[in-house]
Structures are given as C-alpha cells and as structure tokens.
C-alpha cells in the first residue's frame, strides 16, 4: 500500500508541508504570531519552561525532534537575545536533516517591529520554496502513526479503542510504525504488555516505565488527580479499569521497543512495529512527544467528547459514544457507535480507520483540520522529582 507524501532531504516523508515558526522562549511568541498570521500553512509554537538550558534538556531534545518532524519543511527560529537557550543550540542539531533553517534575534534586528517585518519575508520565502516540493508515491511503511485516547468513558473500552487496535494491527502488517504512550494508563496492564514485548529487555523497560509513573502519582502527602472527573462520571472507577480499556487501542502486535523521552535522550522508532513511548497522558503534551518522535499523524479516541486537534500532526478523532456523536458529529472523523449497537464489527471499523489514515496521509483534511487547534505544549519531567524517585529506587523502594 502506498501514499503520496513530501520527501525530505533526510529521506523522511511528510504528509503535510508546513513552515514552523519556533519561538525558543515564550517572550517572543507574540512576534511569531504576527508572522504566522501572514504566511499560509505556517505554524507557531513555543515552550513555557523558561529560557534556561540546565534542567531543560528534555524540552530542548523535543524542540529538535519537532523541528525534524517530516511534516515540517522549514524552520524559522525566534529569540529575544538574552536567553541561555540560544536558538543555535536547537538549530545546530538540525544540520543532519538538511532543512531550511533561519534565526532571527530581536535584540540584533532592531526590535519587535523589524523582526516581524523580516520574519514575514523569510517565512514567505520558505513557503514559496516549500510549495515547489511535489507529493510523491511512497510505501505505507514510511508512516509513523501515534494513538492516544482522551475523555475516555465506557464506550472507549468497548468500541473506539478496540477498533483503533484493529487498525494498528493492520498498519503494523503493512510495515508502519505505531507509537503509544500514557504510562499511567498501563497500570494494571503491565503483564499483558510485557507478554507482547519482543524480548526480556523491552519487557523490563516497560515495567520500569510504568513503575516510575506510578511513583510520580503516589508521593505521600502530595495527592494528585490523574484521571478526570469526566472519566469517572462516564463510569470508570479505577486506573486499572481505565488502563484495560485504554490499552485496547494498541492492538495485539508485538511491542518492539520502548522509546525513552527524558533529560538524557529522545528516541525515535527505527523499524516498523508498535512502540511504547516514555511520557505523560495529558493530551497536548503527549501529542508534542509523538510529533518529536516523528509521528506524522495521531489517531485520537474519545468517549465524552474531547475534540483534540494537533497543529503539526493531523488528528483523526474516533468516537463510540452515541450521545456525544449526536452533538458533535461535525468534529468526529470515525463514528464507531455501531459497535455499541452490535451493528458493525470492530474489524470493519478498524478497516475504515486504516482507509481514513491513508486518505489523510494523501492530503485529505481531517474534520476540524485548520479550524481550531489545541495548544502545542512541551512536557518536562521535573529533574528534582526524577532524582527523588530514583533515590527511593536505590534504597529498595516498594517497586521494582
């Protein structure tokens, strides 16, 4: 099976042809917005963890990863000029990708208005150059699809997640890469995931990933909410129950690797297969991790109506809750509610998802592509908490 994509100089294939305007710190985000408003198919992102480097390594790895994503044709970096986090730190790591990269620094360019004016010219030139790249037919094995659920309810575990799981199995058969994350939603499901691990090393990494996330949410004296009220009002009671429903979306194929995403390293999938990525379960931050690992597309299942939409990776929304579909069918790409009524099989809905994935890879817009995006948010493990939970580990804490 093939699709038509944009082949980048490093051989990776994009399904969109976007100009990325990356404000390396949030103080120049407004400048970026002015540029973005003027240039078609340009995307503005920033990060909100301050402008420092030490302690911020994970964010920097992910900024590099996002810029490398093949949906991005060219990158314009914006900075104020006083940051530790100089744009050159990120841009310097993009040489291998051979992408068009430019940097504008506010204090060097005579201030805000001048940077906006210059930035529009540069981004427009990037747009014109990118428009000359034509789509070419490539094999489906060039696709990296990420799967995520949000606003889960009972229908997620019965309809939308299992049908996405069926689509994942089909994609893996076709040689594509599939990424899932949300380690908190593997609590209670570790053994099943480990049974699917290709080897003992991957199984051990899965256990470590889930155990570390469990520790982050069970620090004594620091109560944390980890599943939303919508989940619980939707009928889900415990994290184990949510996990069992959630993991259905990862299908049944072997788990070929764990992708670390932390202060030390950001790993990307090498070969086809299913990968478990280190990270979080919050929609926008998880999506940023997926994009940084090279995902060109996200398949998002929802129960109680979260219309998640990522600006860099087109997002296909799958829903099995009839009452939500009745209200927001305009936002839902795949209606899986017939599974709940016993009128359509999980496999049939899975095939419809695969067909939609190919259509979207070929350029077809998802239902709300261009209409309103969720924020693009970089997540960062707090190095202090990481130290704390690893120390407990060394002292022989209550987990592996």
């Amino acid at each position: 099976m093939r699709f038509n994509g944009f082949i980048r100089p490093d051989g990776k294939v994009g399904i969109r042809n976007l100009i990325l305007i990356m404000a390396v710190t949030d103080c120049v985000e407004g400048i970026g917005r002015k540029i973005c408003e003027t240039v078609r198919d340009s995307v503005l992102i920033t990060q909100n963890h301050g402008c420092l480097v030490v302690g911020n390594e994970q964010v920097i790895h992910n900024m590099v990863g996002v810029a490398e994503n093949p949906n991005v044709a060219a990158i314009l970096f914006l900075s104020m000029g006083c940051e530790s986090l100089r744009p050159e730190i990120v841009a310097g790591r993009l040489i291998k990708s051979q992408k068009m990269v430019e940097i504008l620094t506010c204090t060097k360019e005579g201030g805000t208005k001048n940077v906006i004016e210059k930035g529009i010219k540069i981004a427009q030139k990037m747009r014109d150059d990118a428009d000359r790249i034509a789509r070419q037919a490539v094999d489906v094995s060039n696709l990296t699809v990420a799967v995520k659920c949000g606003g889960s309810d009972t229908s997620s575990g019965i309809a939308s997640n299992p049908s996405v799981g069926a689509a994942v199995d089909k994609l893996v058969d076709l040689g594509a890469k599939v990424i899932f994350s949300e380690p908190i939603e593997a609590i209670g499901g570790e053994e099943e995931l480990c049974r699917r691990a290709v080897n003992e090393r991957v199984a051990r990494q899965i256990r470590e990933l889930v155990s570390a996330e469990e520790k982050r949410y069970t620090v004594q004296g620091a109560e944390m909410e980890f599943m939303c009220k919508g989940n619980i009002i939707g009928g889900l009671t415990t994290i184990e129950e949510k996990s069992m429903g959630s993991l259905h979306k990862t299908g049944s194929a072997p788990i070929v690797g764990v992708l670390r995403n932390n202060r030390t390293v950001l790993e990307k999938p090498a070969e086809g297969g299913v990968y478990f990525q280190e990270g979080t379960h919050f929609d926008a931050m998880t999506a940023a991790h997926f994009v940084a690992a090279g995902a060109q597309m996200i398949v998002f299942t929802t129960g109680v109506g979260a219309g998640f939409n990522n600006v860099l990776a087109p997002t296909i929304r799958v829903c099995g809750n009839v009452s939500v579909i009745d209200k927001v069918i305009a936002d839902i790409d795949i209606d899986a509610s017939n599974i709940m009524r016993g009128k359509e099989s999980i496999e049939d809905v899975g095939m419809r998802i695969v067909e939609t994935i190919i259509d979207v890879a070929n350029g077809k817009k998802t239902k709300i592509e261009d209409d309103g995006y969720s924020s693009f948010v970089f997540y960062r493990q707090d190095p202090r908490l990481e130290y704390f939970i690893s120390e407990k580990n060394k002292k022989g804490g209550n987990n592996q």
Binding site: T154, G188, I239, M244, G342
Partner: protein, 115 residues
Amino acid sequence: MRRAIVMSASDNVATALESIGAGDDVEILSTNSEVISHIKTEESIPFGYKMAVSNIEKGANIFKYGANVGKSTSEIKKGELVHVHNLISPRVLLPESVKKEVLLEINYRKPTGRG
C-alpha cells in the same frame, strides 16, 4: 428489558448498556450478545456504570475484561452499583475531594436500610 454486558466470563461486574432503574430486571449479556442471566437491580445503574453480577465480599478483587481492576471496600450485593464508593485501586488512589464531587454529581445515595 434493560441490558448490561459482561466483558469476560470471569468478571463479577457487568457494564450497563443503557440507564437502568432501581428494581429493574436486567438481561446480562456476553460479548457475543448471548443472554447469560437475569438480575434484579438493587439501585439505579447509570449508562456505562458497573453492577455486581454476584455477591462480592469486602476486600474481594473486582474483575472486568477478565482483569483485576481493584478491590471492594465494602460488601456488595448482586445487582448493586460498583463505583468509587465501594471500589478502589490498591495502587493509585483518587483524591477524596474528587470522589465526593462525583458521587454528588450522580446524586448517589446508599440504598435504604443499610446504614
């Protein structure tokens, strides 16, 4: 006839496929849509919520999808609602404030006569 589904043969809870009232006669279905049994509910079970399909002792494991999804914190009778008021994860606890808000929102009241 109201319906609830048991996801795996070893489960001790069924999920309501529609809103079920107190005292309703409920058809318990398997995932192949076969009728396994009939149970009279002890209290109302909202759509998507779980009801006990057998009597469950305090501290017993609750199974859904054939997997252990937590422990009961009180005795649960066949036909009663199973949710945050009587089921907890032994690993990660929901904040108490969230539990209270949810029970208030679904207007949950203990069945009469049981303290």
